[in-house]
């Protein structure tokens, strides 16, 4: 089951590659490099954790990868295709088909019920997961008709995961998905995300402040002041539940 422990490198397929990616803010004397010539790659199905202090450029990296922001220079290859130079509508298609985003503040549509938030995906991809099934997957089958404001933070985040997964994307990009939750609920969310990687083969990338999470990751990317300070592959990642959280 756990393909990463096998040595059959032929089954390892690269899905993401950053080549000299730079994201610069400002002009003239006030230039700030949110990302400065970043290089790394990620394989299909990996559970990746990006670690770094506040302001390091983690969100920037994730946003570039998700096609929500444009790189100043460099190439971002997804499945061998450079998304850095794509026009707006192509980026939208890319996001719809390949990216599932999970935010710190859930970002559910307040006017739609839990089920409807997930059912939105029907408008985006040809064969989304059934909304009920997705809700069931995150254990919220009983809350289908509740509006976000009627759900707890953890439940909202589970709905947002269900929504991201329902699109059946190749990767799940999670920016501090547990940032607004207590540790117990956060743990449950992380377990769920790890399951998405292990059981459904999704590439899951999580931005976190929590160094302990490194033990659970297949790959850990450390970043500081817009530069990669270390990339570590973890041959024997632990289940999230066993990590000291």
């Amino acid at each position: 089951m756990d393909r990463r422990n096998g040595d059959a490198s032929s089954t390892v397929k690269e899905i993401i590659r950053f080549e000299n990616v730079t994201r610069r803010y400002g002009e003239g004397g006030h230039i700030l490099y949110a990302l400065d010539s970043v290089n790394f790659s990620i394989n299909t199905g990996e559970f990746v954790v990006i670690l770094g202090p506040s302001g390091a450029g983690k969100s920037t990296l994730l946003n570039l990868l998700g096609g929500m922001d444009a790189a100043t220079s460099g190439a971002i290859l997804v499945d061998g295709k450079d998304i850095a130079g794509l026009p707006d509508d192509k980026l939208t298609e890319y996001r719809a088909a390949q990216v599932g985003f999970i935010f710190q503040f859930y970002n559910l549509i307040p006017t739609l019920t839990a089920l409807e938030n997930i059912a939105l995906t029907k408008k985006l991809v040809k064969q989304p997961m059934d909304a009920h099934e997705a809700l069931d997957m995150v254990g919220l089958a009983d809350h289908a008709d509740q509006f976000p404001a009627q759900l707890s933070g953890g439940e909202q985040q589970r709905v947002s995961i269900a929504r991201a997964v329902a699109k059946n994307p190749d990767m799940l990009l999670c920016d501090e998905p547990t940032g607004a939750l207590d540790s117990e609920t956060g743990l449950a969310i992380l377990e769920m995300l790890q399951r998405m990687s292990r059981e459904r083969g999704k590439t899951v990338i999580i931005v976190s402040h929590n160094a302990a999470l490194a033990e659970a990751a297949d790959r850990v990317i450390r970043i500081r002041s817009g530069r990669i300070t270390g990339i570590a592959e973890n041959p024997a990642p632990k289940p999230v539940s066993e990590v000291g959280w």
């Binding site: 946003n63 719809a96 006017t111 985006l124």
Partner: protein, 761 residues
């Protein structure tokens, strides 16, 4: 420090602030502008009447003696009396113009108002003071001489001065509705200038009263005259004088517009300001909490926010109040002054403008104050936290099968609209206001066009109407009729009374006429009743009579009242009164004498016995001139409606956009295309527009009816709107609504997903 914050905030919320400023500006611009217009008309005419001492009552008969004048002068409440001889003559200038001559006793009541030349001298035997507009149209100046023939005696006088008469603000001469200054004029002369002293008699007596004329005045006048062995045939009070009443009608129409539209504008402006300010304050919720936590007092914070609304609204309103009265009257007055004669056309100022401007600013401040006050009531910690999202309830519609079929767009918007009921209501009201104004403007235009067709194409089937000379012989008339292949009719002015109401109107006596096509109450071609009198619908309504009822009537100037039974009701747009066949007229013992000949084609030359011709095509063109002021109002309304709705819709669009931005950004991250997002925004907007428009159509028609009710008793003004026009109004309203929306479509493309979703707002 807070001032700096205010300036930064204003820069950030530019559009919303600009819109508050604009709304206050437009509302006051219209209010004070139309106010300057109708107040100006009233003020200019009132001061003209005052300066020239316009008569309060006119009496006519064939000669008032000194004793009669004395009897009236000694009546209680009468301050002075003056007599004059009124004569209509044909002037011997290039054309054969008609001049009304006033040979006056003193020239103290209804004084000529000197525009050029020497002041009026009641002793001058050789001078004449001529109507300036007549003089201008005929190229006459002081020093020139002008002659006229008077009962076969030709006289010639030197023009001493050019004047305006308060009795000729509206020059009612001739058949046409627009004055013809070259053909009709008037002149003042001393009674001593009358060339045949032995024939002189005072045909009119002008009375100046100390205060308003009481209801019993006519009776007292009659009594006094009886005591002096005299009587009158016509008694006319100032309000009923044709020139006075027509101008008063015009003023009233303008006042009506001035009362009605600004209210619509003010209401919409206030609503917009209200929603915008509430919205701005709400968006500053956390900031207000922070300011409070920093230790600013409640009143400092309240003052800070209230100042935004107050100064912006005040600036806009004050500018509007200052510019409106300067700009709008100068738009209306040129066309009015080609129609009416007043020595001055000036806008009028009123403290009401300042009050209204202050009122708008205060209302705006009050709304802001309320909004901030509510927020400040909470503890700082609570205020600092963003407002918790309101809980959603499922609406009953969701239980139905239909809900599933509605599609995402509809579902989203059904849920979203009630989230902010004020905004939704505003959107509807904004579109309603716009649609009502546009429908009102277009239906007014349609009605005027319809009346033109109705009168000058359907009813008037003649190409020209020839006025028969007063002294034409029967042989001449018969000759003229056959020469132009025409039909003779008799026209006269009549008084009609029934149910205690007395009205003046027009009489038409027909003699087998085919060139007039009567129309029934539905404005469809019909026929006059055989051997009976027919009354116009509007007249019947004023007199509260129906077919089969009896009314009393008499030709103007006759003493005896006659009775007739209404044999039919027909409808006419521009003149109200009675129509009857010659045989019926004669059976009442009245003498039939044709006054006009209708001709199927414009005759190449005027036959003998005819004074002049009025072409139907000219009358139709006159109608266009007459409705010119109305048309200006219409353009103004449409422009105002457009600005109004652009501001309201833009503002609302901005609000709903900011409110939905986070949701839209989320959808965009999920992979929704910009077009789909635009569709979401558009759907809601279109719904509101549809509701607003549906309400706006009856609203606009109501507005038109209210205005039209003031168009005077001679006009039968059916309010109509053609389906095509309705479509145009629909397209205009939706077009605006859509194009304002397009401004936001660009914004959906530019939504910055990273920034929109960065923090919980």
């Amino acid at each position: 420090m807070l001032t700096l914050k205010m300036i930064r905030d204003m820069a950030r919320n530019k559009m919303q602030f600009v819109s508050i400023f604009l709304m206050a500006f437009i509302a006051l611009f219209i209010y004070a502008g139309v106010g300057g217009d109708w107040r100006g008309l009233k003020h200019n005419s009132d001061s003209f009447y005052r300066e020239t001492n316009l008569a309060d009552v006119w009496l006519y008969n064939d000669g008032f003696t000194d004793a009669a004048a004395l009897a009236i002068e000694s009546l209680e409440g009468v301050s002075s009396v003056e007599r004059r001889l009124e004569l209509t003559v044909t002037a011997d200038n290039s054309g054969s113009s008609t001049l009304t001559l006033y040979f006056v006793e003193k020239g103290a009541i209804s004084k000529p108002y000197l525009m050029e030349g020497e002041p009026f001298d009641p002793e001058d035997k050789d001078g004449v003071w001529l109507d300036k507009r007549f003089a201008d149209a005929n190229g006459l100046t002081p020093g020139d001489t002008i002659g006229a023939s008077l009962s076969g005696y030709s006289m010639s006088k030197t023009i001493r001065g050019l004047i305006y008469s308060p009795e000729h603000v509206y020059e009612a001469g001739g058949d046409a509705m627009t004055p013809d200054f070259a053909m009709y004029g008037h002149a003042y002369l001393s009674r001593k200038a009358f060339p045949l002293p032995f024939l002189f008699r005072y045909s009119a007596m002008l009375i100046e009263t100390e205060s308003a004329v009481g209801a019993d005045f006519e009776e007292r006048v009659a009594d006094a005259l009886r005591g002096a062995d005299s009587s009158y045939t016509v008694y006319l009070e100032q309000a009923n004088h044709p020139s006075v009443s027509i101008f008063e009608n015009e003023t009233q129409q303008h006042k009506m517009i001035g009362d009605l539209f600004p209210v619509v504008f003010l209401a919409i402006a206030l609503l917009t300001i209200l929603t915008t300010m509430t919205r701005i304050v709400a968006s500053q919720r956390t900031q207000i909490g922070v300011l409070k936590a920093l230790g600013f007092t409640k009143s400092a914070i309240t003052r800070h926010y209230t100042a935004y609304g107050f100064f912006l609204a005040l600036a806009g309103a004050a500018l509007g109040a200052a510019l409106g009265p300067l700009a709008l009257p100068s738009l209306f007055f040129p066309s009015l002054s080609s129609f009416y004669t007043l020595p001055e056309w000036e806008t009028a100022w009123s403290v009401a403008y300042a009050w209204a401007a202050a009122g708008v600013a205060v209302m705006c401040a009050a709304v802001t104050w309320l909004a901030v006050h509510r927020l400040l009531a909470g503890a700082p910690a609570e205020t600092m936290r963003p407002k918790p999202p309101s809980a959603f309830r499922h609406n009953p519609l969701e239980r139905t099968k239909l809900w599933r079929r509605l599609g995402f767009n509809a579902q989203w918007n059904i849920r979203d609209a009630p989230r902010n009921p004020v905004r939704s209501a505003m959107a509807v009201v904004g579109v309603f206001g716009c649609a009502a104004l546009v429908v009102c403007a277009l239906s007014m235009n349609d009605s005027m066009l319809w009346m033109r067709v109705w009168q000058y194409e359907t009813i008037n089937r003649y190409a020209a109407k020839l006025a028969i000379s007063a002294n034409a012989s029967t042989a001449e008339i018969d000759g003229a009729v056959s020469e132009v292949n025409g039909e003779a009719v008799m026209e006269a002015s009549v008084e009609i009374r029934a149910n205690g109401v007395r009205k003046s109107g027009a009489l038409l006596v027909t003699d087998g006429v085919t060139l007039i096509q009567p129309t029934d109450v539905n404005m469809k071609p019909s026929a006059f009743p055989d051997g009976a009198a027919s009354i116009t619908l509007k007249m019947a309504q004023s007199l509260e009579v129906r077919q089969g009822d009896t009314v009393q009537w008499r030709v103007y100037g006759e003493d005896e009242w006659l009775e007739l039974t209404i044999g039919g009701i027909h409808r006419e747009p521009v003149s109200q009164g009675l129509t009857m066949p010659r045989a019926y007229f004669e059976s009442l013992g009245l003498e039939y004498r044709p006054t006009a000949i209708l001709t199927p084609e414009v005759p190449p030359a005027l036959p003998d016995g005819v004074d002049f011709a009025t072409l139907t095509s000219d009358s139709a063109a006159d109608w266009d001139d007459l409705t010119e002021a109305m048309r200006l109002t219409i353009y103004l309304l449409i422009i105002a409606a457009a600005i109004l709705s652009i501001v309201v819709l833009y503002n609302l669009g901005l609000m709903s956009f900011t409110e939905m931005e986070r949701g839209l950004a989320t959808l965009k991250v999920l992979g929704f295309k910009s077009g789909a997002l635009r569709g979401l925004l558009l759907t809601q907007n279109l719904w509101f527009s549809a509701v607003g428009f549906a309400l706006g159509v009856p609203g606009g028609l109501w507005l038109t009816r209210t205005i039209v009710a003031l168009s005077g008793e001679t006009f039968d003004f059916p309010v109509s709107i053609r389906p095509l026009t309705l479509l145009a109004a629909l397209m205009f309203t939706f077009g605006l609504s859509l194009s304002v929306n397009m401004m936001f479509s660009r914004k959906t493309r530019r939504i910055n997903m990273v920034e929109s979703l960065k923090a919980m707002e």
